[in-house]
């Protein structure tokens, strides 16, 4: 298991380097001269030159690339052009909010989606199955900003159960949890729908496997056949797919944060876009990709825990 972990880490290193390169290309080369973008047309040549030197973009491109890679690999993501504070500080200030949201929605999705998916599979082609399938398909069809607005309209504006604004005090756990409810529902809805569907089809697949028949032929009670023999095998594809979906979830959190006016990575990236803070953008891109790489790693690890075949290969 340990060596498996090390191997996985090493294997993701080239991806990370390639990702950083792409970020460099997208953010530094495509937009043209960032100094001009930041200071505007009226800026004096001297001011422009000064900013270029400050940003290190007066150097040749390949040196810029080396600088960028070296500092990025050391965890130095540069400083915001607007606030002048290190990007990493800006990010760590809001990261807990984003993590709260993605993790709580993942938990919600698994807690409801997996049992629902199993139930649908066991009731295949009966009423419960059809209802679950249609409802989950509708859930999957909601763009999060639409479901967020609908939830807001109903629970915050019509019935005033939950606050409209999601800004919370990180130190006050009760407040933090309370403000999290609607955003979590928003993101979690998609997650529930998604996990339900994947679990259902994985379960159907596994229930038709020979080894499930073997278990039944052994006289294992039906309940144990499902929990012990089928579920663990069904979780293998579920974990893979959930891991993939976490990436989409991170993207979706941007929209949720806008709708509920919550602080978080999403708000920071939109602000940076509006302010043309390209240093900030670059740093955020790196952070996002890093999060995805970590997610993939976690997925693989979970995979290794469930499936004995992974460790030995």
């Amino acid at each position: 298991m340990f060596w498996y972990l090390v191997k996985r880490l090493l294997a993701s290193a080239p991806t990370l380097i390639a990702v950083l390169t792409v970020v460099f290309v997208i953010v530094r080369i495509i937009p043209g001269d960032p100094a001009l973008t930041v200071l505007g047309d009226q800026a004096t040549p001297a001011a422009l030159a000064a900013l270029r030197t400050k940003l290190g973009i007066d150097k040749p491109l390949h040196l810029q690339y080396v600088d960028f890679m070296l500092s990025a690999l050391q965890g130095d993501l540069g400083r915001s052009l607007v606030s002048g504070r290190p990007v990493i500080n800006e990010v760590t200030a809001v990261l807990p909010h984003t993590l709260d949201l993605t993790i709580s929605s993942l938990l919600l999705g698994s807690a409801i989606g997996i049992p629902l998916g199993i139930w649908a599979a066991l009731r295949r082609n009966r009423l419960a199955d059809y209802v679950i399938r249609i409802v989950s398909l509708i859930g999957l069809s909601f763009p999060v900003f639409v479901s967020g607005i609908f939830l807001l309209l109903v629970f915050a504006l019509q019935y005033r159960i939950f606050p409209v604004i999601g800004t919370s005090d990180l130190a006050n756990l009760g407040d933090r949890a309370w403000k999290l409810v609607l955003p979590t529902l928003t993101l979690g809805l998609v997650m529930v729908a998604y996990i339900t569907r994947v679990t259902r089809s994985a379960m159907l697949q596994v229930l038709s496997e020979d080894y499930v028949r073997t278990a039944r032929a052994k006289g294992v009670p039906a309940r144990l056949v499902i929990t012990r023999h089928a579920l663990r095998n069904a979780l293998i594809p579920v974990v893979t797919v959930v891991g993939l979906y976490l990436g989409i979830n991170i993207g979706n959190s941007v929209l949720t944060e806008i709708v509920f006016n919550r602080p978080g990575l999403g708000k920071v990236i939109v602000t940076a876009l509006n302010q043309r803070d390209y240093a900030m953008l670059q740093g955020l891109m790196v952070i996002y990709c890093f999060l995805i790489v970590v997610t993939n790693l976690l997925t693989d690890l979970t995979y290794g825990l469930i499936d004995p075949r992974v460790k030995q290969s």
Binding site: Y211, A217, K218, P221, I306, P308, R309, Q312
Partner: protein
Amino acid sequence: MTTPATQRASTDQSVLDRPVLAIDDLTIEFRVRGQWHAAVRDLSLSVGRNETLALVGESGCGKSITALSVMGLVPKPQGRVAKGRIDVDGQDIVRLDEARLEKIRGNRVAMIFQEPMTSLNPVLTIGFQVAEALRVHRGLDAAAADAEALRVLEEVKIPSAARRFHDHPHQFSGGMRQRVMIAMAIACKPALLLADEPTTALDVTIQAQVLGLLDDLKTAYGMAMLFITHNLGVVATIADRVAVMYAGEVVEIASVHAIFARPAHPYTEGLFRAIPRIDRSEQTLSAIAGQVPSIDRMPGGCRFAARCPLREPACDASSPRLEEIAPGHAVRCHVRGPARRVGMGAGGGVGG
């Protein structure tokens, strides 16, 4: 090894004489495009203690589903047992509910499947999978079940079983996996073992090992064994009696010696003539022309008539019944049945 059979044998002589498995007039149906069609029709057979009955036939003839029905595992909702009885130890399992069936499966009746590669659960250790049957049926605690499972794994000759007890299936070869399957099946010392093409996926030298093992175990436990196969060589090697199936029906049933020496049904005869043999040179094969009719297009009369060299008008008119032509030898044929047997003379020998 003590003989486990003696431990559970009742002193009542009538129970000893009673067949372990008695199938009577069994019909199993499947739904094809909204219509129920019989995949197995009017099937009757029995297997006694310490006896191996080979159920022979080509793919789709209904032999596997017959075995599954004995386990109460006919897939629902597309399949159903439409009529008939399946008595195991004198208890009709067709009328048992799922909870009662679970108590019998893997306990009094066990089954081995064709595909050792997919029939074991990939995420559980082989030790656990063998011990599970003992925990479920014998109520043993984990330690006792593991100890017993290890003993059974050694009995089926898994090399260094103790060391490999906690290995997963993917670490085993096909032959070894089939041994694990056998261990699982015999763990609770079943009265009846159903073996569904257990050696078809294996290489021929491994097949010989597994056949030898099954035969030894059958004798040691006094089990009744229903051995399903399409390989007549295997039948000749392991069976005491043989039932030949064609298109869902038993067309001939006899002792292994009788059926190889004097096959009566034209289909049985055809099968023998179609096998190329390793011990013959300059053979001429004669193939059976045509193919098996599909389940939703079964003819009204004899199901083999369209391919039969002996076809007569009567064959298309009505279905023949399975009737005895000699003690213990029955055939389902208008031409070769008992009514016409008188004028037939010596009867057909083995091909060529």
